[in-house]
C-alpha cells in the first residue's frame, strides 16, 4: 500500500494518480490535497457568499422583509465564520500545499498522511457547523466573535456543536501548519537558504507559526465556554468571580493574529505576481521578510484594539493604541516595495496583475481605515458601526480574496497545463472591482453617519446607501459565478501552457512542465 519514490529519472509518471473517488479520499499527494483544499474553499465561499446575499437583501431597504431578526443573526454569524475559517484559510492552505513543496524543491509535504487528515477534517467540521441551522433553537446567532455571555448562558443549544466543530477545525489548522513549517524547515533543496526562499514560502512560514501559536488559544476559549455552559464554572460570569471581558481578551489574543493569518500569504502572492509582470526583480526582498516578521510579532500585542470600548484602564488603552499604530510601519514598507518594484519596470496587465494591483490599492485603503480605527478616541465613534465593516471587508475581500483569485489565475496554467481565457478573466476582474467598491465603499459613510453593525433593520437616513451597497453586493456575487465558469473551462481545456508560462516568471515551480507532473522534484534540484 505504500511505495518509495524512485530517485531515478527514467519514469516520473509511474506513480500517477489513482483512479476514481479513492484518489481523493486516500491521497497523500500534495497537489491532490491542494486541489481538494481549493475546491472546498470555493464551495465555502459560495455558501458564505450566499449568506451575505441574504444579509444584503434584508438590508436592501429599511423594515423587515425577507428574514426574521433571529435568522438574520444566524446568517451573520455563519457568514463570518464560514468566510474566515472555511473560505480564506483553507484557500491559503490549498495554495501552500500546491506551491510550497514546488517552490522549495521538495518531493511533497513533509508529513503526507497527516496532510490528508488535516484536509478531511474540514468537510466534517463544516457539516457539523451548518447542520446547526436545522437544530432546535437555530444555528449560532452570536456573531463570529461569540462574546460571552450571549454565547454561553443565552445561547441556543446548537452552541455545543459549534464549540466542538471549532475544536476540530483548530486541530486541522494546527496539523496543517506543522506540516508547512516542517516542510519549509526540513525539505528545502540544497542551496535554498532561508534568505533565498520565495516570499510566498516566507509568508507561509510566518503564518504557520502564528497559527500554531493562536489556534490552541481559541480551543482554550471555546473549552471554557463549554464548561461555563454545561458544567457550572464561572469564567465569564461576574457572579462567580469571572468576567465576560476575559472572554474577549482570550478571543482577540487569537483573533487579531488570525486576521494577519488571512493577509500574510496574500502579501507573499502579491510579491510574486508584481515581480513577474513588472519583469523586474522584487524591490527590497530582505525588508519584505523583516516586515512580515515584525507584523507577526506585533500582532501578539495589539489585540485589545478590538476592545477599546469595554472599559479598559487608561494605560492599557494607550498601550494598545500605540502598538496598533506601529503596525502601519512594516505594512507601509511592503506597500512601498511593491510600488517601487513597478517603478521603471516593464509592465503588462494580465488578469493576475490586475488583481494584484487592485489588491495593493484597496488593501491600502483598508489599512488606512484600520489606522483610523486604531485611534482610540475616534474608535469610540467608529466601533461596532459599518465603518468597521467597511474596514475589514476592504482588507478581506479585495485583500485576501483578490489575492487568492490573483493566485489562481497566476498558477492555474501550472496546475492544469491550460491557459485561462484572458478576455473572460479581465471581465471577471472589472466586474469584481466595480462590485466590491460599490458594495463596501459606501459602508464607510453609513458607518460614520451612525449605522451600527449586526442589525437587520435601520433608521431611515441610512436607506439610500444601503440600497446601493446591496446592488453592488449582488453584482459582486454574480461575477463570482463567472469565476467558477472560467476555472471550470480552464480545467477542461484551453491553450496549452509552456513550462515558464509567464515571460517574467522566476522560481522553481516554473522549471517543471505544465501541468506539473504528479510528483515533482523526487530528486532535489540544485539552487544557486
Amino acid at each position: 500500500m505504500s511505495a518509495v519514490i524512485e530517485s531515478h529519472n527514467h519514469d516520473d509518471h509511474h506513480h500517477g494518480p489513482a483512479k476514481g473517488l479513492t484518489r481523493w479520499l486516500y491521497t497523500t499527494n500534495h497537489k491532490d490535497i491542494g486541489t481538494l483544499y481549493l475546491w472546498f474553499s470555493f464551495a465555502m465561499f459560495l455558501i458564505g457568499g450566499a449568506m451575505a446575499m441574504v444579509i444584503r437583501a434584508e438590508l436592501f431597504q429599511p423594515g423587515m422583509q425577507i428574514v426574521e431578526p433571529e435568522f438574520y443573526n444566524q446568517m451573520l454569524t455563519l457568514h463570518g465564520l464560514i468566510m474566515v475559517f472555511g473560505a480564506v484559510m483553507p484557500a491559503f492552505v490549498g495554495l501552500a500545499n500546491w506551491l510550497v513543496p514546488m517552490m522549495v524543491g521538495a518531493p511533497d509535504m513533509a508529513l503526507p498522511r497527516m496532510n490528508n487528515l488535516s484536509f478531511w477534517i474540514l468537510p466534517f467540521a463544516f457539516f457539523v457547523l451548518l447542520s446547526s441551522l436545522f437544530m432546535e433553537g437555530g444555528a449560532p446567532n452570536f456573531g463570529w466573535t461569540f462574546y460571552a455571555p450571549l454565547s454561553t448562558t443565552y445561547a441556543p443549544p446548537s452552541v455545543t456543536f459549534f464549540i466542538f466543530s471549532v475544536h476540530i477545525m483548530g486541530a486541522s489548522s494546527i496539523m496543517g501548519s506543522i506540516n508547512v513549517i516542517v516542510t519549509i524547515m526540513n525539505m528545502r533543496a540544497p542551496g535554498m537558504t532561508l534568505m533565498k526562499m520565495p516570499l510566498f514560502v516566507w509568508s507561509w512560514l510566518i503564518t504557520a507559526y502564528l497559527l500554531i501559536a493562536v489556534m490552541p488559544v481559541l480551543a482554550g476559549a471555546v473549552t471554557m465556554m463549554l464548561m461555563d455552559i454545561h458544567f457550572g464554572t464561572s469564567f465569564f460570569n461576574a457572579a462567580g468571580g469571572g468576567d465576560p471581558v476575559l472572554f474577549q481578551h482570550i478571543f482577540w489574543f487569537f483573533g487579531h493574529p488570525e486576521v494577519y493569518i488571512m493577509i500574510l500569504p496574500a502579501f507573499g502572492i502579491a510579491s510574486h505576481i508584481i515581480e513577474t509582470f513588472s519583469r523586474k526583480q522584487l524591490f527590497g526582498y530582505a525588508s519584505m521578510v523583516w516586515a512580515m516578521a515584525s507584523i507577526a510579532i506585533l500582532s501578539f500585542v495589539v489585540w485589545a484594539h478590538h476592545m477599546f470600548t469595554v472599559g479598559l484602564p487608561l494605560a492599557a488603552e494607550l498601550f494598545f493604541m500605540w502598538a496598533t499604530m506601529l503596525i502601519a510601519v512594516p505594512t507601509g514598507v511592503k506597500v512601498f516595495n511593491w510600488v517601487t518594484t513597478m517603478f521603471k519596470g516593464s509592465i503588462t496587465y494580465e488578469t493576475p496583475m490586475l488583481f494584484a494591483i487592485a489588491f495593493v490599492v484597496l488593501f491600502t485603503i483598508g489599512g488606512f481605515s484600520g489606522l483610523m480605527l486604531a485611534i482610540t478616541p475616534a474608535d469610540f465613534q467608529y466601533h461596532d458601526t459599518y465603518f468597521v465593516v467597511a474596514h475589514f471587508h476592504y482588507v478581506l475581500v479585495p485583500g485576501s480574496i483578490f489575492s487568492i483569485m490573483a493566485a489562481v489565475y497566476y498558477w492555474i496554467p501550472k496546475w492544469t497545463g491550460n491557459m485561462y481565457d484572458e478576455r473572460l478573466g479581465k471581465l471577471h476582474f472589472w466586474l469584481s472591482f466595480i462590485g466590491v467598491n460599490v458594495t463596501f465603499f459606501p459602508q464607510h459613510w453609513i458607518g460614520l453617519a451612525g449605522m451600527p453593525r449586526r442589525i437587520p433593520d435601520y433608521a431611515l437616513q441610512f436607506a439610500d446607501w444601503n440600497m446601493i451597497s446591496s446592488v453592488g453586493a449582488f453584482l459582486f456575487g454574480a461575477s463570482q459565478i463567472l469565476f467558477l465558469f472560467i476555472v471550470v473551462k480552464t480545467v477542461m481545456g484551453g491553450k496549452k501552457a509552456t513550462p515558464e508560462v509567464w515571460e517574467g516568471s522566476r522560481g522553481l515551480e516554473w522549471t517543471v512542465e505544465s501541468p506539473a507532473p504528479y510528483h515533482t522534484f523526487t530528486t532535489p534540484p540544485k539552487v544557486n
Binding site: P244, V245, K280, G311
Partner: protein
C-alpha cells in the same frame, strides 16, 4: 493651528460637495461623515478624525500617485527594458522612519483627547444605565428616579404594514432627561448580556458589561433631543434598542424630577385599589405588548427551542405561585429576567393576569387572577 486649518479646509470641501449632491435624493454629504456632536469632547474627537483622515488621504495621494504614474509610464510598450535595481538602503530607511514620525504626530493629540475622556471623577448628576434584552433602565442615583426606556416604533411599521415615521427605530417611550451645563456621569452596566450605550453626539460609547460598571461623562450645552443606539450584538432585538437623551434647561429638569416623584406617589395609590379581572387584563395587555412580546411573541407562543410557549404553559395555566415567582425572580441562567424592579405592583399583577386570561388560557387552566396586593404580599420579607 494645524487642526483649525484642516477643519476649515474640510468645511469648504464639504460645502462644495454638498452642492454637488443636494440636487438629487441622496442624503446630504454632511450626513455621510462622523457627527461633530454637541460637546467639547465630541468636537475634539471629530477634529481628530478629520486630522487622521486627511493625513491618510495625503499619504494615499503620494503612494497611489507614484503607483499610477508607474502604471502608465512603465508599460512594456513604453519601457521594454526594465531597470535592474532591487534595493537601496537609504530609501528603505527613509520610508521606515518617516511613517513612524507621522504616527508619532498623530499619537500625541489622540493620547491627549483620550486622557481627557478618562476623567473619572463624580458628576453633578449620576445616572446608572442598565442594559436589558432589549431596553435600557435609567436610575438617577441622587433623586431615586428609576424607569425603563423602550422602543416605541410599531411592529407594523417594522414589518412594512404601515408607513414608517420620522424617527423610525429611534424613538422611545421615555427618554433620559438631563439638564444643560451640568456634568453628568453615567454608570453603565447590564443585567443579562453585553450591551453598549452609544450617544454619537456626546462621543460616548461604553459597553455595558453584566456584573461590572463602566463610566462615561458629558457636559452638554445645547438643549435638544439626541438619538443613539445599542451597539453591541445582544441577541434577537439588538437592532431595536435605541438610546434617546433629552437635554433641557435646569428649570425644565427640576420640574421633570418633581413630576417623576409625584408619579411614583400616584402609583402607590393605584396599588391599593380593588381591580376587576377585566381591568387587569386590559392593562396587562399593554404591559405584555411592551415587555414580553420580544420573546414570547404576540400570540404567546414564543419561539420553539428558545422562548417557551405561554399559551398552554402548565405554569401559566395552573400554578399561580410559581407564575408569580418566575416573574419576580426570573429564571437563573436564562433570558427570562426578573421583572420585579421593572414593573410596578399593578403592572406586574396585570401582566400575569393577562397571560393567564389570554389565548384561551382562562378556559384551559384554573383561570386564577393575580391582583396587586398579591405582589405586595410576595415582596414582604418571608419569615
Amino acid at each position: 493651528m494645524f487642526k483649525k486649518a484642516t477643519r476649515s479646509a474640510n468645511h469648504k470641501l464639504l460645502a462644495g460637495l454638498t452642492i454637488l449632491f443636494s440636487s438629487n435624493t441622496f442624503a446630504a454629504w454632511n450626513d455621510l461623515n462622523m457627527t461633530e456632536g454637541v460637546t467639547a469632547i465630541s468636537k475634539e474627537v471629530f477634529d481628530l478624525h478629520m486630522l487622521i483622515f486627511w493625513i491618510c488621504v495625503a499619504i494615499g495621494l503620494v503612494v497611489f500617485g507614484i503607483m499610477f504614474y508607474s502604471m502608465f509610464a512603465f508599460t512594456k510598450k513604453k519601457n521594454p527594458n526594465p531597470a535592474t535595481f532591487h534595493e537601496n538602503t537609504k530609501v528603505e530607511l527613509a520610508w521606515t522612519v518617516v511613517p513612524f514620525l507621522i504616527l508619532v504626530f498623530m499619537a500625541i493629540p489622540a493620547s491627549n483627547t483620550l486622557t481627557k475622556i478618562y476623567d473619572d471623577t463624580e458628576g453633578d448628576i449620576n445616572i446608572q444605565v442598565v442594559g436589558y434584552q432589549w431596553k435600557w433602565q435609567y436610575k438617577y442615583l441622587e433623586d431615586g428616579i428609576d424607569f425603563f426606556s423602550n422602543l416605541t416604533t410599531d411592529w407594523d411599521e417594522i414589518y412594512n404594514k404601515t408607513p414608517k415615521g420620522e424617527f423610525y427605530l429611534e424613538e422611545v417611550d421615555e427618554a433620559v432627561v438631563i439638564p444643560v451645563g451640568k456634568k453628568i456621569r453615567f454608570l453603565i452596566t447590564a443585567n443579562d448580556v453585553i450591551h453598549s450605550w452609544w450617544m454619537p453626539d456626546f462621543a460616548i460609547k461604553q459597553d455595558a458589561i453584566p456584573g461590572f460598571i463602566n463610566t462615561a461623562w458629558t457636559i452638554v450645552d445645547e438643549p435638544g433631543i439626541y438619538r443613539g443606539k445599542c451597539t453591541e450584538l445582544c441577541g434577537k432585538n439588538h437592532g431595536f434598542m435605541p438610546v434617546v437623551v433629552k437635554v433641557v434647561t435646569q428649570d425644565e429638569y427640576d420640574a421633570w424630577v418633581q413630576d417623576k416623584k409625584d408619579a411614583a406617589f400616584r402609583m402607590a395609590e393605584l396599588t391599593e385599589k380593588d381591580w376587576s379581572t377585566a381591568e387587569l387584563t386590559e392593562r396587562g395587555e399593554g404591559v405584555y405588548l411592551k415587555n414580553c412580546v420580544a420573546c414570547h411573541q404576540v400570540n404567546g407562543q414564543g419561539i420553539a427551542g428558545i422562548f417557551p410557549n405561554l399559551a398552554g404553559s402548565d405554569i401559566v395555566l395552573n400554578n399561580k405561585a410559581k407564575n408569580i415567582e418566575i416573574l419576580m425572580e426570573g429564571v437563573q441562567g436564562a433570558a427570562m429576567q426578573s421583572f420585579a424592579n421593572q414593573l410596578s405592583e399593578v403592572d406586574m399583577a396585570s401582566v400575569i393576569t393577562y397571560t393567564r386570561q389570554a389565548w384561551g388560557n382562562a378556559e384551559n387552566g384554573d383561570g386564577e387572577i393575580v391582583v396587586p396586593k398579591d405582589i405586595v404580599e410576595y415582596k414582604k420579607p418571608k419569615v
